[in-house]
């Protein structure tokens, strides 16, 4: 008996806590073989296309010096992008995209980590995996290593791609961006231990990321040089303070490493102490009886949280953009090329109006992401087999879909209205025209929503393609004018056909046509949904 017991006790438990990490890592990389390369490619595209754009805008050293001078006095723009530390093309690239590339890397990292930790536990798949020869801390390790591989690839691509501007600065920028990624990867690892829901873990980490952006913005608005305490509290502020291409401060990389190690250690300690599938923030009990009485009420209950989140985000973004409108217009106005780009985005009119129109357009394209997410809730309900039990009651498919679609299409109108109110509040003038401009975006948003409905109704397996459409419209609208893409490409996006408001001429034809197309797409999708088999 004792012999048996000691035979089992021989193995030190600690040594086996990472058992199976290698297999899990390979498995995670295989599952992410499309997701991660797409994120890395988009992020790299944003960074690597910048030197060309900047060269066309600020070709001569004199123009660049001029820009740097102006930024020193332009508070609102510094809040958006950060201070300029050098006048080389490389330094300006790091200035212009650094914060946003860091933001993208952070989002990629948090998605990857939550996907391989809390998502797995929430779905119950983790139990099966953990019942095999898999150590207690192996899943978390594999998830962090996957994020590490993704960020390393990103750093490598950026370093190689920007080497033409100077290899040292390129390396600093690449490592800094990857550093931000790893800080938020480990942050997500902690959130995944605290919450029981993957959605909440992603939400918490995103909230921290949002706070990091706001801290940096507030700090940079106050001081020119990234020396504010607020900026220094934010990992995005660290990236800026690393000063790629402007006398790199390599020691800043140690900050990233220390933060990632510290947070990783916390996540590890938590992971070793809790049960699989459980969390440190337990779910509270709910009511024993319910008031939900219709499919529409259920849809609202499921979507109200995200409607609230989008509403808040759009209003705040509106206030921020509205507030910086005057300053931005001044800055843009002094550069002929930049003026041209904004006019391509926002129409030929006064510069303030052109800037406002461009920003309202960007908000519209982001609203397209909201409508796609909201429409695809139908798809999520169906694939999780929850739709099946709802539809086995006296609920028609159309009525069931109508609840979610009302929230999707009405929600888009609501958030654009709130964005308009935010713009008007931040800018302080032209409330009517700005609100009108925001609402004019809706037909294009609805058309993309309609496309999502059509895909879901007719070709449910391809429903996620709607994300691709919304993403492509955003990419075309955002970088298209700067790259001076041919008209045919710009016209491929429904946003390309909208009148440029405020400032431009209102044109009813495209607005009504796009609305009509949206109606037809939704009707086609619903007809398909009525006719087809429900997949379970």
């Amino acid at each position: 008996m004792t012999a048996v017991a000691s035979a089992f006790a021989v193995r030190a438990p600690r040594a086996r806590q990472l058992a199976g990490t290698g297999t899990l890592l390979r498995f995670a990389l295989r599952r992410d073989r499309i997701l991660v390369p797409v994120w890395v490619a988009v992020n790299a595209l944003v960074v690597l296309s910048m030197p060309r754009t900047l060269r066309s805008l600020y070709g001569t050293p004199a123009q660049r010096a001029d820009l740097a001078d102006q930024l020193a006095t332009n508070t609102s723009l510094r809040a958006m992008v950060g201070p300029v530390f050098g006048q080389s093309l490389g330094a300006l690239t790091a200035w212009r995209v650094g914060v946003y590339a860091g933001l993208l890397a952070a989002v990629m990292s948090l998605l990857v980590v939550v996907r391989h930790t809390r998502d797995e536990e929430e779905s119950g798949r983790q139990e099966l995996i953990s019942s095999a020869m898999v150590g207690r801390r192996a899943p978390l390790t594999a998830a962090l290593l996957t994020a590490g591989v993704a960020n390393a690839a990103l750093a490598l691509v950026i370093t190689a791609g920007l080497a033409g501007q100077g290899a040292t600065g390129a390396l600093a920028l690449g490592l800094g961006i990857a550093g931000v990624g790893m800080v938020f990867a480990t942050m997500a690892a902690i959130a995944a231990q605290l919450t029981e829901s993957a959605r909440l873990a992603r939400g918490l980490t995103s909230a921290v990321l949002g706070a990091a952006f706001v801290l940096r913005a507030a700090g940079d608005a106050g001081t020119n040089g990234g020396s504010s305490l607020l900026t220094r509290l934010s990992p995005l502020g660290w990236l800026e303070n690393e000063r790629p291409y402007a006398g790199e401060r390599w020691w800043v990389l140690l900050l990233f490493a220390a933060a990632a190690l510290l947070q990783g250690a916390v996540a590890y300690a938590l992971a070793g102490r809790r049960d699989v599938g459980m969390s440190f923030l337990p779910t509270r009990p709910g009511p024993a009886t319910g008031r939900l009485g219709s499919a529409g009420a259920l849809a609202w209950r499921l979507q109200r949280g995200s409607v609230l989140g989008w509403s808040l985000g759009f209003f705040v973004a509106g206030v921020v953009y509205g507030g910086m409108t005057n300053g931005a217009a001044d800055l843009v106005g002094s550069n002929a090329k930049a003026r041209e780009i904004f006019q391509r985005m926002g129409g030929h009119s006064g510069l303030t109006d052109a800037f406002l129109a461009a920003m309202v357009g960007v908000m519209g394209m982001v609203a397209a992401l909201q409508i796609v997410a909201s429409v695809l809730r139908l798809h999520g309900e169906e694939t999780s087999a929850r739709a099946e039990t709802v539809l086995a009651n006296a609920v028609g498919r159309l009525r069931w879909a109508a609840g979610h679609l009302l929230i999707a299409f009405g929600g888009a109108a609501l958030i654009m209205l709130l964005a308009g109110l935010g713009f008007a509040a931040g800018y302080g003038r032209e409330t009517g025209p700005i609100l009108g401009a925001c609402l004019v975006q809706l037909p294009a948003v609805w058309m993309i929503g309609g496309l999502a409905v059509l895909l879901y109704g007719v070709l449910p397996r391809g429903a996620v393609l709607a994300w691709g459409v919304a993403g492509a419209a955003l990419l075309i609208g955002w970088v298209g004018p700067a790259l001076n893409l041919p008209r045919a490409v710009l016209d491929a996006s429904p946003f390309g056909h909208l009148p440029k408001l405020p400032g431009g001429q209102m044109a009813w034809a495209p607005v009504l046509t796009l609305t009509g197309i949206a109606v037809v797409l939704v009707a086609g999708g619903l007809a398909g949904l009525r006719r087809r088999d429900m997949t379970g």
């Binding site: 929430e122 709910g286 009886t289 319910g290 939900l292 499919a295 929850r386 009651n393 006719r531 429900m534």
Partner: protein
């Protein structure tokens, strides 16, 4: 008696897979009908056609006198469904889901709801993800049994329930039958089906291979007999319908086709019977016989293919 469900010649393909290949099913009003078949035989597909979630390629289906595809909503007011794997919304409590389903069906008996929650020992305040498999099933079962409907469609409803809860489930089904409701019960727990069902249908590869009351079906199979005789057994081996005869002195064991039982008993009594036990075929034997035919058929098919 009117039919609660009639299905004839139902076909349904998913790409190259023929899930249903001419399936027939008749369920009388007021009966508990067992729906049996190995995994992948097409039970759930049939049920999803009956609920109007899938559209049949060809063949007819009527539920409570209506077309399940075109009249789905009206029909569902009178139908309650429990799937084999209940998924819940993570942020809704069990009580909220029970009430939601009840309202969506057009009514819930509050008193019965309270009583069922007590009997099933369900905590209605817990939220979706925190329920175990068995407790998620209980949420759907309480919602179904507390609804005022004419037909219950239960697709392996007791998966994950413990034996005590299984017992309560069986009492609930009996109460439903006593109220005149119709139950279609798809199940792998044959003792449950034997206990509850008036009639059963066995399907295999999308076709109905056997349908009728358990007594009818037993008639088609073999009864096991063990007897101790006064004299040596005579001519037993030559009687038609006797299988697996095992003679040890005066003790005999064998199986006999149930419809040939009469002649065999006469032959036994000629030798003089000291003791006799006869065991009717269990549903399990019935089921296995069909299933094993299937396996043997497959084996033959594979050999032929070589």
């Amino acid at each position: 008696m009117t039919k609660a469900i009639t299905v004839s010649g139902l076909h349904k393909s998913f790409g190259a897979t023929h899930a249903l290949d001419g399936l027939d099913l008749d369920v009388e009003t007021g009966e508990v009908h067992g729906f049996l078949g190995p995994n992948g035989a097409g039970k759930s597909t049939t049920i999803r056609v009956l609920l109007g979630l899938l559209r049949a390629d060809s063949g007819g289906a009527q539920v409570l006198g209506r077309d399940p595809w075109t009249d789905a909503v009206e029909l569902h007011r009178r139908v309650a469904y429990v799937p084999g794997d209940v998924t819940l919304w993570r942020n809704l409590s069990g009580g909220e889901v029970i009430d939601l389903y009840g309202r969506l069906r057009g009514g819930l008996d509050r008193r019965r709801r309270t009583e069922l929650i007590e009997r099933f020992e369900l905590d209605p305040t817990k939220k979706g993800r925190t329920y175990s498999k068995g407790n998620r099933q209980k949420v759907a079962l309480v919602a179904a049994f507390a609804s005022d409907v004419d037909l219950l469609i239960l697709d392996e409803p007791t998966s994950g329930l413990d034996p005590l809860m299984e017992e309560i489930f069986q009492r609930c089904v009996e109460e439903e039958r006593d109220r005149g409701r119709t139950v279609l019960l798809s199940s792998h727990i044959l003792s449950e089906v034997e206990e509850l069902c008036d009639r059963v249908s066995i399907i295999r590869k999308g076709r109905t291979v056997e349908s009728g009351s358990l007594a009818d079906l037993r008639h088609l199979t073999r009864t096991s007999v063990t007897a101790e005789l006064a004299g040596p057994p005579n001519g037993l081996a030559h009687l038609p319908g006797v299988h697996g005869l095992d003679i040890r002195g005066r003790r005999v064991r064998f199986q006999v086709d149930t419809d040939k039982l009469d002649a065999v008993l006469r032959s036994l009594s000629e030798s003089g019977v000291r003791s006799l036990t006869s065991t009717p075929p269990t549903l399990e034997e019935l089921f296995l016989r069909h299933y094993q035919d299937d396996l043997q058929g497959d084996a033959r098919g594979t050999e032929a293919a070589r």
